[in-house]
Every structure is written in C-alpha cells, then in structure tokens.
C-alpha cells in the first residue's frame, strides 16, 4: 500500500520516538542504581558543604571569572584593533597571539603562569593574579576574534560619517564604531563569559588554600572528605548552572532585542 508523503513523515516520527524510548529504557535497566545512589546521589552526607560552597566556592568562581573577563575584554579589544590595523606588524603580532592561545589547552596556560613564570622570573604571584592573567590571556584570544567580527559588522559609512565631521580616527572608533560593535557582539560575548566561568575551574591544578577554593575545587575537596562519593561534584555542577543558565537567558534576550531593532 502506497503512503502519502505526510503519512511517511508521521511514521518516521513514530519510529524516531520509539528508538528514543527504547534507548532510555535500556539505560535505566542497565544502571546499577544502588551504587549510583551511594556515590552520586548521596545527598544525606553533603551538609558540611554548606554554606561554604556559597560564600567561598560560588563567590570565588564569580570573582575569578569577572577578573578574567575584564582582562580578556581589554586585551581582546586591543588585539581586535591590532588585527584591523593597517600596520602589518600589529596584525602579525595579534594573529600570532590569537592562534597560539586559542590553540593550546587553557590548562597549560594556568600551569605556565602558576609554576613556570614565578620560577623563571623569581616572582611569587598570589592566586588571584595568576587566575586573572591566565584566564584573561586565554579569553583575550577568543574575545579578540568576536570583537573583530563585531567591528567589521559596523557599516563603513559610520566611520566615514564620523571622520567627515572632523573626528580623528581614534575618536570615531571610541564614540561611534565601538559602541555599535558592542551591541552586535553582546550575545557571543555572553557565551564567552559562560566558557570563562567553566574555565575558571582549571585553577585546581595550582595549590589553593581553603579560602581560595572555587566551585570545582570545593567539589573535589568534598569527594575526599565527606565520603559521599562523587555527590559533591554534582552539587558543584549544579552551582555552575546557577551562573550559566541566567547568562544564557540574558544572551537570548539581547539577541531578540537586537533582532527587533538595532539601537
């Protein structure tokens, strides 16, 4: 019996839903619920994590992310302007920097600034400075590309109009082009912050004192001290979502607003 296109589409939809249900059922049946319950969902023993995970873990994650973002934004803007410069040396430096820091794992950057640089130059940086620099330098590379795209998305006529009014190049960039570029890059920039929030966890490779713990380190610490298996990590993960989901929501809001009008 021949089916119409609509009937075929419907059957295909049923088949897909069926496969999904079977897969979920198989997963549930294959799971060792007792072990999982003891080692991942063992919420009875995590009491001691509070309120530390709030006042230390969450707060430090936010501080590290914020500092990294400020450095990343400044560095990224500088690199983006260098990349758009008419002076070749600037373009090469910026391209080299971006390729390098985008290409290596952020973990290596943390190790380099946490152990390498203090050894090489005989300086001792405190953790906050190390996070700020490591996170900021990695973020600069990503943010630079985002900002460059945003700057190039501002119509050329805007710069021409500003220059025609007698504004020097730098003034036209600061007053006219950059504010418009920032509106364009707000959604992708929010995504950079989300990535940065998670990358701040890489600080665990450095020796931290208890007051410097951020969420992930807090969770790892809980694994060894609470006897609740991996449950503390699950809690830490939930706190990341507390930060990142509102950010995603904001990003979507910006996106729909810029879609409605370009003001």
């Amino acid at each position: 019996m021949a089916m119409t296109a609509r009937q075929r589409a419907r059957v295909s939809l049923y088949v897909q839903a069926g496969i999904f249900v079977v897969a979920i059922a198989a997963l549930i049946l294959a799971t060792d619920w007792e072990t999982i319950g003891n080692s991942v969902f063992n919420f009875g023993k995590i009491g001691p994590m509070f309120p530390g995970i709030f006042v230390t873990g969450l707060v430090n994650t936010l501080i590290y992310t914020f500092l990294g973002f400020i450095v990343g934004l400044s560095g990224g803007l500088l690199l983006a302007l260098m990349k758009l410069s008419s002076f070749p040396l600037y373009r090469w430096i910026a391209s080299g920097y971006i390729e390098f820091f985008r290409g290596i794992p952020a973990l290596l950057v943390f190790i380099a600034f946490g152990y390498g640089v203090p050894l090489a130059f005989g300086v001792s940086w405190n953790i906050t400075v190390i996070v700020m620099v490591s996170l900021g330098m990695v973020a600069s590379a990503y943010i630079a590309e985002t900002l460059r795209a945003g700057l190039q998305a501002v119509p050329k006529g805007q710069l021409e109009a500003a220059r025609s009014l007698g504004m020097p190049q730098w003034r036209a960039m600061i007053t006219i082009v950059i504010p418009q570029a920032f509106k364009i890059v707000l959604p992708p920039l929010t995504n950079e912050v989300i990535l940065l929030t998670k990358d701040s966890s890489l600080i665990y490779v450095l020796g931290l004192t208890a007051s410097q713990y951020e969420l992930t380190k807090f969770g790892r610490d809980g694994i060894s001290s609470l006897g609740a298996g991996l449950t503390p990590l699950l809690v830490a993960g939930a706190f990341y979502l507390v930060i990142t989901i509102p950010l995603s929501f904001l990003a979507r809001k910006f996106e729909s607003r810029t879609a409605r009008n370009n003001r």
């Binding site: 009014l165 007698g166 418009q180």
Partner: protein
C-alpha cells in the same frame, strides 16, 4: 513644509562660505583610472551640481574633496586648506566641510539631537548645553525640531536625510558636499530634502552636489558639470547645460534621464 521653506540663517547667524579649486585631479583604483584629470572651480557661495551616468567618477570626485578618497595626482584647495598637501590637518579641514551621504549614515545608537551634537562636543569642544542649542536650531532649520528625541530607525528616509543635513550644519561648515542625497529616498520624501537644500543655497552656502534631480539642478545650481568616463565633458550655466547641451554625450545622457521611457530602437 512652511517651516522648512521659511527658515533662515545658520547657527552662527551668517554663513561663511568657502570656495573650492580642483586642478588636474587624478584617481585610480589599481589600473582602473576613474578620474582622468579633473579641473573644477566652485566660487564661495556658489552651487555646483555634478551630473553624469553612474561610474562616471562624480561621487569619487566629491569624496576626494574631503579626502574620503585619496587622490593620486593634482591639487584641491578648500577654503584656506590645501587638501592634497600631505601635511594638511585632515580633521581640521573636515570640520569646515559638511558631508551628506546617499545612505544618510546617521549614528543608529544616538537620537537625532545627539547625532547633531556629538561632534560639536567631542571635536569643537562646545559645552553640551551650547551643542544642544545649536542642534535644536539646525533640526528646526530642516523642519524636524519636534522629532529631536527620535532615533534614526524611528524616522523615515527623508527625515533621516534631513537630520543628516542638520548634523553637518551643526559644525558650521563653509562648504557642503552632497553625494546623491535623494537617491535612496522614497519619491514622496524627496521634495522635503530638496527644499531644505534649496533653502541652504539661498542662504549662501557653497554646495557641491552629485545628483540625478535635473529639476533641482536647473532651478538651484549656478553651474552644472556633466562628467562621463572620468572627465568633465561639459560645464556651464545650469539652464544652458540642461536645456541646450552642446556635447553629444551630454545630450544622450539628458535624453535618457529626462525621458526614462524613451527607447532608442537603433541601438
């Protein structure tokens, strides 16, 4: 539109008009020479319309005058400045030269009044209060005082172009350049923009206008310059060039522009 037609005097009372002198100007993009030795004089207070087919180099010529394009050869004098002098203070010169673009190029993140005041405060270092006063005066001058707090995307094309003119006027220019100011407009808003420009001409502003509006050119321009293929083919008194051109290329162009439905069967 009475407020437009009857508006008077510039922000500083009288317009100080500058002249333009262009000598043997050449401009190439790679091997493509778009200006092949243009000489053109605009007396202070005069209105000169540049007409010609697209690709004739008239917009490029206009953009060379305030150095949005860098000429390869020749000289341009604007008021007391030699634009083609490598040591010229470009920004200082541009303050004297207002530019109006085909696509308006208003700043979308600023309302109409801020569009007019931003360069006054940042470049001329006027106080915000003084700049606002000048901005309002010029917005009223183009008939848009009541829309001063609108953003560009809340204005029609014709209104945006009039704000763009007010923005340029707020810098007290001595010369105004218009690059096809009505080409991107809906037909019904063209008249408002042209009447603002007509008024400006009456007030004694030096104007160099690239346009396809032959009616405007004939009525307002002191002289019309017909360009084709990067050279000036014909120039003269507006009425004479438009009504009784002497060069065959000018005749051909005007016939096409003035009667777009005309089909030349022999071609």
């Amino acid at each position: 539109m009475n407020d437009v037609v009857n508006s008077s005097a510039g922000s500083t009372g009288t317009i100080q008009a500058a002249g333009v002198a262009i000598k043997d100007l050449r401009k190439s993009y790679g091997s493509n020479e778009v200006l092949k030795g243009i000489s053109l004089d605009v007396a202070p207070g005069a209105v000169v319309c540049l007409i010609g087919p697209s690709g004739s180099g008239k917009s490029t010529l206009l953009r060379c005058v305030n150095l949005l394009e860098q000429p390869n050869q020749g000289t341009i004098h604007v008021g007391g400045f030699e634009a083609t002098d490598p040591d010229v203070d470009i920004d200082k010169m541009r303050r004297k030269v207002g530019m109006v673009f085909q696509q308006f190029n208003l700043f979308p993140h600023l309302d109409a009044k801020r569009n007019c005041s931003i360069a006054q405060t940042k470049v001329l270092k006027r106080s915000q209060a003084e700049a606002d006063k000048v901005s309002m005066h010029n917005l009223e001058r183009v008939g848009l005082g009541h829309l001063a707090d609108r953003f560009p995307d809340q204005l029609s094309g014709g209104q945006q172009q009039r704000v763009a003119i007010a923005r340029a006027l707020s810098m007290d220019p001595e010369l105004m350049l218009f690059d096809e100011p009505t080409s991107a407009l809906d037909p019904e808003t063209v008249g408002d923009v042209l009447s603002v420009m007509r008024n400006l001409a009456k007030e004694g502003m030096t104007m160099l206008v690239v346009t396809h509006e032959m009616g405007f050119a004939r009525e307002v321009a002191d002289r019309v310059v017909f360009m084709d293929g990067g050279v000036v083919v014909e120039e003269g008194v507006a009425e004479q060039v438009i009504s009784s051109p002497t060069q065959p290329r000018t005749k051909e162009f005007l016939r096409r522009v003035l009667d777009p439905t005309h089909i030349d069967i022999e071609e």
